[in-house]
Symmetry: C2
Subunit: 322 residues, 2 copies
């Protein structure tokens, strides 16, 4: 049995829409931070005694669709190792599943690294990133630690993520304000194929050509203000694409809007510093520097719509821990 741990990641420049759905080749490059405190821990054991793959997820037998998705991911690694042995997987998240914190990112990254370890495959990080990508696009980024860029590429072999700055480069923190732990209506896997139906999607892709180099610059120079401006505009751009797809997907809830307005108010009044981003779900991620966290948490504590908060710094990449 091999156990791996992987952090989820928060994308500053988001992944939305595929060039190739089956290979999960994205339409655009993306940039993220791997999180230290929102992790999946996954143990994998291959044994000729097992007649089928099985998956225990958060101490419950997983739904059939989840087992099949994990099984297909193992197939990639079994193929590389030249084996057909079935596996038992035990996986658990340190955060609620399916609520806009990318559990598929940390889950697929942890599964990929654990299974590779269990099969004795010694794969370079870029290779693990490509394989993780096949299971979940954003998982490609959770293989690397710190600040990460996923190069879009145009084929399986050139679409993978790399670290562009280590965790200690910048004491940036993601304060996740969890406004709802309910399962979202449409997962991001279902959303990606709809991206191209939005009449605003091409404008989004065009705008990203401006955003990507500026976002790299903001990170390299630790320029919080430039970073925040790009972060919020890009978050809105992602949701523009989803809410204008056909059918329209509306991830924002009442709690989301309360938080966005509150955050802008705090900044204007100087009571807290932070910038929002929102994944394919209702929760609001507030990015700020470590020194601003206490004031921010105090303000968040006064909002009824915030069910809980989770503070994550930049974390390590996916790794075998036992």
């Amino acid at each position: 049995m091999t156990t791996a741990i992987a952090g989820s990641n928060i994308a500053f420049v988001k992944y939305w829409g595929n060039l190739d759905d089956a290979l999960r080749l994205p339409m655009n490059g993306s940039i993220s931070m791997t999180l230290d405190a929102a992790v999946t821990t996954t143990a994998v054991e291959f044994s000729p005694d097992f007649s089928a793959d099985s998956l225990l997820l958060n101490e419950q037998p997983a739904a059939e669709a989840a087992v099949q998705r994990a099984s297909r991911q193992l197939d990639h690694l079994r193929q590389l190792a030249g084996v057909a042995t079935r596996a038992h997987i035990v996986s658990s998240n340190s955060f609620p599943t399916g609520a806009g914190i990318a559990s598929s990112a940390s889950g697929m990254a942890a599964l990929t690294v654990a299974a590779a370890g269990a099969l004795g495959l010694d794969l370079p990080e870029a290779e693990l990133s490509k394989i993780a990508r096949l299971g979940s696009g954003s998982a490609s980024r959770s293989i690397a630690g710190g600040f990460v860029e996923w190069y879009a590429g145009a084929r399986h072999d050139d679409s993978y993520a790399v670290q562009i700055a280590p965790p200690e480069h910048w004491d940036l923190v993601d304060v996740v304000a969890i406004v709802s732990a309910e399962e979202k209506e449409v997962g991001s896997t279902a959303g990606h194929p709809l991206a191209h139906t939005s009449p605003f999607y091409q404008a989004r892709l065009g705008e990203l050509q401006r955003t990507l180099p500026l976002m790299r610059k903001a990170i390299f120079e630790r320029d919080l203000e430039l970073f925040g401006e790009l972060l919020e505009a890009e978050a809105i751009s992602l949701h523009v694409a989803s809410m204008t797809s056909r059918p329209s997907i509306l991830y924002w809830t009442a709690g989301t809007m309360t938080l966005l307005h509150a955050l802008r108010g705090w900044r204007q009044r100087g009571t807290a510093v932070g910038y929002f981003t929102i994944d394919a779900g209702p929760n609001v991620h507030i990015l700020t520097e470590r020194a601003h966290v206490p004031a921010l948490l105090e303000q968040l504590g006064q909002l009824e719509c915030v069910a809980s908060t989770l503070v994550c710094a930049a974390g390590q990449g996916a790794r075998v821990v036992g």
Copy 2:
């Protein structure tokens, strides 16, 4: 003293952004319904005894900026009449000011028609529409009754609104769910000049070339389902433009999102029929046919975030009433 009454209007295809800010020539044509139960009543009296224009708005002396705006509007009519006489204006709305129900539309339409009447100007409807437009773009549409299209035009003389179907053509109803009567942060006049700063604005204008003829068709054929689909996509498109402008304007509040999700839920479960649109404010306008109103009001009554509702059918155009 001449008194006129004008209904506000709800735009199904929205006005956002100008070709010419001073003349309020819009970048795109728009389509609306003039409302029967959200009206402004305005009395105008010109007298050589007055040394300056004055304005009593909802029984209060109006702010200086509002007086100046009204005064500039009267100037257009004084110029046509060849007089310089000052006026006293008494105006009142049947709905809260500045909360996303277009008080400037009904206000400027009523003022234009009352002042033209008081000055003895006998102007055709298209001419009144052009003059109203100079004071408030959407006021051009409130001059006409029923279902109205404002032709964008490219010069003062070809940018005006006309009736495309009379009020009795379709028993469509606008159920306004008022979630907040607070003044909004950014009025639409301040928003229009920002339209061009959105990287999504050109995509919006392109999409409108598809939307406008389909919206006309939906109205002509009283096709509620096609109408509703176009209505919601267009409302989102307007807010895409505002939330992606620089600076970003976020009109939606928690109450707005609660309503959008509730409405989609009611439709899916078949408990109420209606389609949303949202102006430059937080309130949600739900368009439906008369027969569906009781069920809709019952559902709305169960939402805490709905402060009040206002039911408006298609109304007459602006007219002198005394």
